[in-house]
Every structure is written in structure tokens, then in C-alpha cells.
């Protein structure tokens, strides 16, 4: 029993080395002073971090990524919060179907969705690429917004809402004054999770590039396929720090239980 436990803990340790080792290696190589990625690096330098800020493509696409993720997030919230509320609060015919509809964007392969959006939104509907990018990101963020908020509403006792209404509050007033404050941390967490999902997205964005329009992950993808200097390693480190920070906030807001639920 004791030996079995030790073997299992060693096994788990190896699994986590496999998971995190490569990320640690990138972090170390990002400080390479030379022009070629090496491990271990031949010295310590921040030149590739400086390089990020000197290559305008990275700065431009970073800006696009942030704007698209934030605007898309806002749109997804406007569409998703009422829907999540309706789906959690009321039981009505066709609720399961609608639930499935709202969660379906995660089920459709991203690359298929990206291609379809390119073909119809850009080519057939004639929307500008930027708009296509924004819409595509909104579509993929919706399920995350709805799922996180619904799980937060699942813990909300709707009798409280009825109590407010019995005291004379209208529906909208009740929603703003009673429901919303109680699921605030759920909404915040939903925003952050959806943001990461959109910010890291490749499958949609890869089809939505055009003159002056591209996101950071796509820019990184193109760069890696052509150059092999440590710039991408440096960007990776910055992205990982950002991810860790957001993850920390998500944990504070609602713990990690959401992730283990299926």
C-alpha cells in the first residue's frame, strides 16, 4: 500500500514534468542573448523582450487581439447573460434544445466554424474582415459565458427574487438589484475565462486575416514558421504570466470546481 502510493506519486510527478517542463524550457530560452534558440541559453539577456516592442506587427496584432476579445466579450455578455438567466430560471418547452444550441459552438470543430464564417460572413454576406473576426469570437465565447454564469445561477436561490417581487420590485429592477449582485463573481469569472478562450484562439482567427487585420496568435504562428529566434519564447513568457494572473483571479472568484465539471 505504502509502496504503491510512492510509485503513484512518482508517476504523477513525471506526468507533471511532462506537462510543465516544456513551458519552463521556453521561459529559460527566452533569455538567450544569441540569435538562435538554445537550451541551456548561452547567457542572460532581455534583448528579445525588447525586440517584441520593436517589431510593430506584434504590437499591432496584440492590440487587435485585446480589442477583439474585449468587444466580443461585451457582445457575448449582452447576448449570454439574459439567455443564461432564462435557461436557469424558467422551465419551458424546448429548453433542452436551446441549451444545446447555446453550447453548440464548442461542439463544432473550430476550424470548420472558422472556414464557414469566412465563406459566408466575409464572402457571401460581404462583412469586413474585422467584423467577421469580432462575430466569430463572440460565437465561441458565448458557450463559456453561458456555462459559467449558469453554474453560478445554479447556486442562487430564486426564492430571494420572488421575495423582492413580493415586496413590490419589478422584474428588471429585481434582476439588477437582487440577481446580478449575487452572481457578480460568476460573471467576472465568465468574462476572464471567455477572454482567455478568445485571446488564445487560432481556429477562427486563422481564416480572418487580411490587410492590417490579424491577431497575436496568428502573428506568432506565421513568425514561428519562418524564424527561429527567441522572440516567440519571450512573448510566450509574457503570455504565460498574463495567463497565470488571470487564472489566479478566476480561482479567487469561484475556485477551480468549474473546470472539473463536465
Amino acid at each position: 500500500m505504502k509502496e504503491g502510493n510512492r510509485a503513484l506519486s512518482l508517476y504523477t510527478l513525471l506526468v507533471f514534468i511532462f506537462l510543465l517542463g516544456p513551458l519552463a524550457i521556453i521561459s529559460v530560452t527566452s533569455f538567450e542573448p544569441g540569435t538562435i534558440l538554445k537550451f541551456p541559453p548561452e547567457g542572460f539577456s532581455l534583448r528579445w523582450y525588447k525586440n517584441i516592442f520593436e517589431v510593430s506587427m506584434f504590437m499591432e496584432t496584440f492590440k487587435t487581439s485585446v480589442i477583439v476579445s474585449m468587444l466580443g466579450n461585451l457582445l457575448a455578455l449582452l447576448l449570454g447573460v439574459p439567455a443564461a438567466y432564462a435557461l436557469s430560471r424558467f422551465s419551458f418547452r424546448g429548453r433542452d434544445t436551446l441549451n444545446a444550441l447555446f453550447l453548440s459552438p464548442v461542439l463544432i470543430p473550430g476550424i470548420v466554424l472558422g472556414f464557414t464564417l469566412l465563406r459566408y460572413l466575409i464572402v457571401v454576406y460581404g462583412l469586413p474582415i474585422y467584423a467577421g473576426l469580432l462575430i466569430g469570437h463572440t460565437v465561441i465565447m458565448l458557450p463559456f459565458i453561458i456555462r459559467v454564469i449558469a453554474s453560478s445561477l445554479a447556486n442562487f436561490d430564486f426564492a430571494v427574487e420572488e421575495a423582492a417581487q413580493s415586496l413590490g420590485a419589478g422584474r428588471l429592477y429585481t434582476f439588477y438589484k437582487i440577481v446580478l449582485p449575487n452572481i457578480r463573481s460568476g460573471i467576472m469569472a465568465a468574462i476572464l475565462i471567455a477572454f482567455l478562450e478568445s485571446f488564445n484562439n487560432v481556429d477562427i482567427s486563422v481564416f480572418m486575416t487580411g490587410p492590417g487585420v490579424s491577431t497575436l496568435p496568428i502573428q506568432m504562428l506565421t513568425y514561428v514558421q519562418n524564424y527561429f529566434d527567441p522572440t516567440i519564447a519571450a512573448i510566450s513568457v509574457i503570455l504565460m504570466v498574463l495567463t497565470a494572473a488571470l487564472m489566479f483571479i478566476i480561482e479567487r472568484l469561484m475556485g477551480f470546481a468549474y473546470f472539473t465539471k463536465r
Binding site: 506519486s9 506537462l19 521556453i26 439567455a83 436551446l98 470543430p109 466554424l113 464557414t116 458565448l142 473546470f259
Partner: protein, 273 residues
């Protein structure tokens, strides 16, 4: 409940998804059955007669199956360990499993380029120890893709299994033990059968994810194509939209069939129904 209020809440989302997801997908599906104004299956037949496409499909399936198996073998014991360890260790390990999941797939695949490349970490190490004399050609092969995909999806299966294992009533194990079962027997007869539905769901997620992943095969696969990079190539490089649409529909069908079948199987095995 007021019906109008309900519509007001749901309609914007429904219309948005209909216009920007459902209808485009329906149109894409429909377009694959029409050629020169005629209803036909030629688009599909053409593909399945094409050896090149069959090879890609086969590579994709093979990589996905192996990825899923490796994820199960690596992930199941790790998840079990995490579920049984102290609360403090558990939260740390859970955070360490979630972190890669939230990290950009570009970053994660890129990390393997540093390791698996011709002059990468692995080759440098193996050459220096004298175990090999010529660098291994791992990069831009199905093996590289598979390693990248395992790395991509391992956290997903770990946390999925963890969710199931956490819900497991540990008293069942104590009950089995008090009836004379060794810890291993208790695991084999109680824990394992009860986690099989979770294992199936985790496997679906990994399998479908690997089947449709784009970033990792694009970076680690090089000229070696899988179905998703093939779709991209047809759409963006060759501008063959008809072909790209057919591939898209094939991917949708495979995804839905796999998810549907496995869900059914998982539900049948789930004693709670």
C-alpha cells in the same frame, strides 16, 4: 411566467447564433451536395476515391487514437493520485493542471519545437550521451504531432477524471475493504468500474479535440497533413472551397457520430442512469 419576457431574454442570442453559425453551417452542408446546379454525391465520392485524402484521414485517426490512449495511460493514474492526496497538494496540482489548459496552444506547441527539433533539446541531449550518432527526425512527423497533442489534451482528461473521482464516495472503498478486499482489489472492483463513464467522456474530449486540432499539427506536422490542416490548405492556399466544404462536413459528421456513440455508451455504463 410571461412568454414575451422569455422571448426578450432568449431571442437576441438565438438570432445571433442562427445568423452567424447555424445558417452558414447549413449552407455549407447543403453546398456539398450541389455541383453545377445538380444534386450529387460526387463531392464525397471524389474524396473517398482519392488515395491522398484517405491517407490523411487515416493519419488523423491514427494520431487521434494514439493520443487518446496515451492521455488515458498518463492521465488516469495522475488523476487518481490527485483525488486521493491531501487538500493542500490537491489544490496545487489542480492549479498546475489548469494552467497549461489556459495557456495559448501556440505557446505549447512551440515549446515542443524547441525540444523535438533537429537541433533541439532532445537530440542535443541524446547525441551528447552517445546514445545516438545521427539526430532523430521526430519534428514534422506524426510522432511530433502526437506528442504535442498529448501535451495539449492531457490536462483536459486529468481534470475531467478528477471531477468524477472527487464525486466518488470513498466509503465504497472502505466498505469493500471491510468485506475483505485489498486496496488493489477495491480499486479494480469499485473505483475503476465507477470511473469508466468519466474515462469515456474524457476520452471523447481528447479524441475529438485531436481529430480537429489545427495549431499543433500546423506547427509540429510540417508537410505531414491531418484533416484540419488539409481543410485550411484547400480553403486558403488552393482556394478550392468545394473541397474545403466537403472536408468540413466530414469533420462535423465524424465529431457528432463519435460524441453521440460514446455518450450513449457512457450513459449505459453509468449506473445512476
Amino acid at each position: 411566467m410571461n412568454k414575451r419576457f422569455l422571448y426578450l431574454l432568449l431571442l437576441p442570442g438565438i438570432l445571433f447564433l442562427a445568423a452567424f453559425m447555424l445558417i452558414p453551417i447549413m449552407l455549407t452542408i447543403a453546398s456539398t451536395f450541389v455541383q453545377d446546379g445538380q444534386l450529387t454525391l460526387e463531392g464525397y465520392l471524389h474524396f473517398f476515391r482519392d488515395g491522398y485524402f484517405n491517407r490523411i484521414l487515416f493519419t488523423t485517426l491514427r494520431v487521434s487514437v494514439v493520443t487518446t490512449l496515451v492521455c488515458v495511460v498518463l492521465g488516469y493514474p495522475a488523476a487518481y493520485y490527485i483525488s486521493r492526496t491531501s487538500a493542500r497538494k490537491k489544490s496545487i496540482l489542480l492549479a498546475l493542471a489548469i494552467f497549461p489548459l489556459l495557456t495559448s496552444p501556440v505557446v505549447r506547441s512551440f515549446s515542443w519545437m524547441i525540444i523535438l527539433g533537429k537541433k533541439g533539446l532532445l537530440n542535443t541531449f541524446l547525441l551528447s550521451t552517445g546514445l545516438i550518432h545521427d539526430p532523430l527526425e521526430i519534428m514534422y512527423t506524426p510522432v511530433a504531432m502526437m506528442v504535442g497533442l498529448v501535451h495539449l489534451f492531457l490536462p483536459l482528461i486529468i481534470i475531467t477524471l478528477l471531477g468524477v473521482m472527487e464525486n466518488l464516495d470513498y466509503e465504497l472503498v472502505l466498505a469493500a475493504r471491510s468485506l475483505g478486499a485489498s486496496s488493489f482489489t477495491a480499486f479494480r472492483k469499485i473505483i475503476f468500474p465507477l470511473t469508466v463513464p468519466g474515462l469515456i467522456i474524457g476520452s471523447i474530449l481528447v479524441f475529438v479535440g485531436s481529430l480537429t486540432a489545427y495549431t499543433t499539427p500546423a506547427l509540429l506536422g510540417g508537410k505531414e497533413r491531418v484533416i484540419s490542416t488539409f481543410l485550411y490548405q484547400n480553403a486558403m492556399t488552393l482556394n478550392d472551397w468545394q473541397a474545403a466544404s466537403v472536408i468540413a462536413v466530414i469533420m462535423i459528421v465524424i465529431t457528432f457520430v463519435v460524441v453521440g456513440l460514446m455518450n450513449k455508451w457512457a450513459n449505459r455504463l453509468n449506473p445512476k442512469g
